[in-house]
Symmetry: C2
């Protein structure tokens, strides 16, 4: 009899255990939706990230790699990651170019139309003129074919003016940008081949305004590097109009920017140690450097504070990812992406397993979705995550590239993910003095932070 | 033999005719996608609507119904509709309230904290104070239940301060607004029942800033109307903080606004006569009036210029809708929607058949989709239109209400459609001096115009 009682007790225990397991698995099935709601609740009612954005925009404005402002931003975000509750925070050494803008000025003079100063700014990594500048006739071209067709005889000794606008018919503004940006990245190099002495490039701005938009320019090894500046879209229209009536118009261009020897800077990294698979890594990042003429609020302080916000939210809500999750502020995305390269190199050296990486470097407007560099079943699974985001009106889950800072992790097998905000207004700010804190809306920023923290949580949870 | 030749000729003609019909029907099947592309191309490369928006914002600022600025806006949009190529343009008489803001000022004084001026603005249709204003203790409440619980004894003779913030956890900002706005629309009326002498209402603003947001307030017939003002969210936080340490704090409130007898104003209407069913009407509209303290760029000059833009695009591209399509600038949406009512009344009197109506009055940020007040098969058909908009990244096709100006057409059978832009940042502008031209992005406006013109084209084409 005692035996039987004991058996019945055991049976009862098993029933209870079974019921508990069933119940907890049911709970578990409900959980992700609830977690996502709590993530959005937290992001939408907390101002930490927005305050950080304000600090980076206003107090570390113009934080180009190697600049004093960039070191201030490094220290500030290091502290912000500690405050967010990251288990470990550290700086990672990165060599960066050291390029400095000088005096810049461009005056055009025409016998027909008079004389006018254009709103210009040197392109990043451009060589400069001397203090007196240079003076020459200007020849307008729209692409490298036209340059070739015109030929050395007519180009030699002149300033080449690249004036192909962004194609505003394209719905995807990044496609419009891609379709025009070779004028900026390679225009100086190409024009130099035909003997040009400088280039003026129409700003990569879909709008007509007076902000010049900078950005990097590269010289091919074989060419004589010549000064390169961007002109505002209004300036480009004026110059083009004047050239139509007076092809002998001259421009006097001063741009005393200089390249100094490379210098030391840092990526800023904070991580939450994975609870189950600490040796697998998920990286979420933006870049901390910004163009010297900009507050760099959208590009890309916003991406940085969204990464820090993920750490803060996980810690605040007690979310314990299985894998180690890192927020990374990459240095020097704008000039030569050495931050992303240094990060991947060290990871490789240490034999780290990089599972996935997300980059937020397309501005921090309202989130539309995510782009995944995946295919087949994995892509389908990732796309099916959209259903979790329907309550938050984030709907676009599709193929896409990740971004330049995380791209070196691709070879190590890390899934590449891009955060995709609504980008209709992004290129009015991009790389210009118009990229200010005031152009960021707090709710749009918060919705993006919540979306990113939620996506990474699900990818880790479901092993996608 | 001549006979036979003639028959063969006839047969040949029939074959050719048949081939032509077949070919043109094939062409027709391809057409809508091409038409949509041409609509977006046109909208995204033309600045007419953006210039109109600038004019309305800067030159007819504060165009409250009955104001000189409102008549300037009426004449300007009438001319804009003619310029857009509308077949007929006319004004439709509407009686409107005539309410005028006066001097306004609010100072709070506390024995504990000192004295401070709050940023306030009278609510629309509010009664005023006399020139000396009124002075009284302040009692903070959060909803009408609390008002009831506190009761007449403690409220009588005091100023009631409604301080329930918008719930920022709600993803849909319009839901957050709806959940708080009864403080503004009925707070004065409810507080008056308990003997309050005035109300100060926290602005319907999800953000912390110093812009007071106005909006209409209504008095129940049975109550003594008392002055009502909105306070900025920063002002509301300060007042609440001071009240916590000093419940004897007093406010001196001056708001010498006044209601004058109703006056005559106009809706502005322009139409393209239908090619096949001219006696069926599709209405697309926004409201032309705006709050007196605002440029009213998002609310709702944007909606107006999008409606005019539809006419311009159809005429420019030679799109000939089957039904008569109208762009309507409704007057007096903000105070008592008499414009919408007058429009529906005349339509009813004339026995017009109103097929569908779309309202754009949720700001002109990037388009997300459309809401349809439909169900069953019709709703499914309307939702299936989403596939046409995938190339333009407009994806949200769902149920929804149309809007207050078109709602009187519902009883006449008109399908109610709301244009749905991304509204995360809308309520930072709404009804405040922060609603300026500069807050509108040209591409976001253009994308919305193209979306609206495309949707109306498809609904008319497919008889949805």
């Amino acid at each position: 009899m005692p035996r039987l009682t004991s058996d019945r007790r055991k049976l009862k225990k098993i029933y209870i255990l079974f019921a508990l397991v069933l119940f907890s698995s049911l709970l578990k099935a409900q959980e992700p939706g609830k977690v996502l709601t709590s993530v959005f609740d937290e992001a939408l009612t907390d101002k930490t990230a927005y305050s950080q954005l304000e600090y980076l925009s206003k107090n570390t404005k113009g934080r180009l790699s190697g600049s004093p402002a960039s070191f201030k931003a490094i220290e500030y975000t290091r502290q912000a990651l500690i405050n967010a509750g990251a288990d470990t925070v550290w700086l990672q050494k990165v060599m960066v170019p050291n390029w400095k803008r000088g005096v810049e000025n461009c005056r055009i003079t025409s016998s027909k139309s008079g004389s006018e100063e254009l709103s210009i700014t040197a392109l990043g990594l451009s060589v400069g003129t001397d203090a007196n500048g240079l003076k020459s006739k200007v020849i307008e071209v729209h692409d490298f074919e036209e340059l070739r067709a015109i030929g050395r005889k007519r180009i030699e000794g002149k300033i080449v003016f690249f004036n192909r606008p962004l194609d505003n018919k394209l719905i995807n503004t990044f496609s419009a940008y891609s379709g025009a940006v070779n004028q900026r990245t390679s225009g100086a190099s190409e024009a130099s081949k035909y003997g040009a002495i400088a280039v003026i490039v129409r700003s990569m701005n879909p709008f007509l305004d007076n902000f010049p938009h900078t950005g990097v320019t590269h010289y091919a090894d074989s060419v004589n590097p010549i000064p390169a500046v961007a002109v505002s879209t209004i300036g480009a229209e004026l110059l083009s109009k004047w050239l139509k009536t007076d092809s002998t118009l001259t421009a006097t261009l001063i741009s005393t920017c200089k390249i100094y020897p490379d210098t030391v800077s840092y990526n800023v990294i904070g991580e939450i140690r994975g609870a189950l698979k600490p040796h697998e890594y998920i990286t979420v990042g933006g870049h901390l450097d910004a163009w010297d003429i900009a507050e760099g609020a959208h590009d890309d302080a916003g991406g940085c504070v969204q990464a820090i916000e993920m750490i803060r939210i996980y810690k605040k809500l007690g979310i314990k990812p299985k894998r180690t999750v890192r927020a990374v502020m990459f240095m020097n995305e704008e000039m030569s992406s050495t931050g992303g390269k240094a990060y991947a190199e060290e990871a490789k050296k240490k034999g780290e397993i990089h599972y996935a990486a997300l980059e937020s470097d397309r501005g921090v407007m309202s989130p539309r979705g995510f782009g995944f560099d995946a295919e087949g079943t994995r892509l389908e699974k990732l796309k099916s995550l959209a259903s979790w985001f329907a309550p938050f009106n984030i709907r676009d889950f599709d193929t896409g590239e990740g971004g330049s800072d995380i791209s070196p992790l691709k070879a190590m097998g890390a899934l590449q993910i891009a955060f995709i905000p609504d980008a209709q207004r992004y290129f009015s700010y991009h790389h210009s003095a118009n990229d200010t804190f005031e152009q960021v809306n707090i709710r749009e920023l918060q919705m993006g932070s919540a979306g990113i923290a939620s996506l990474i949580y699900l990818i880790d949870l479901f092993d996608l």
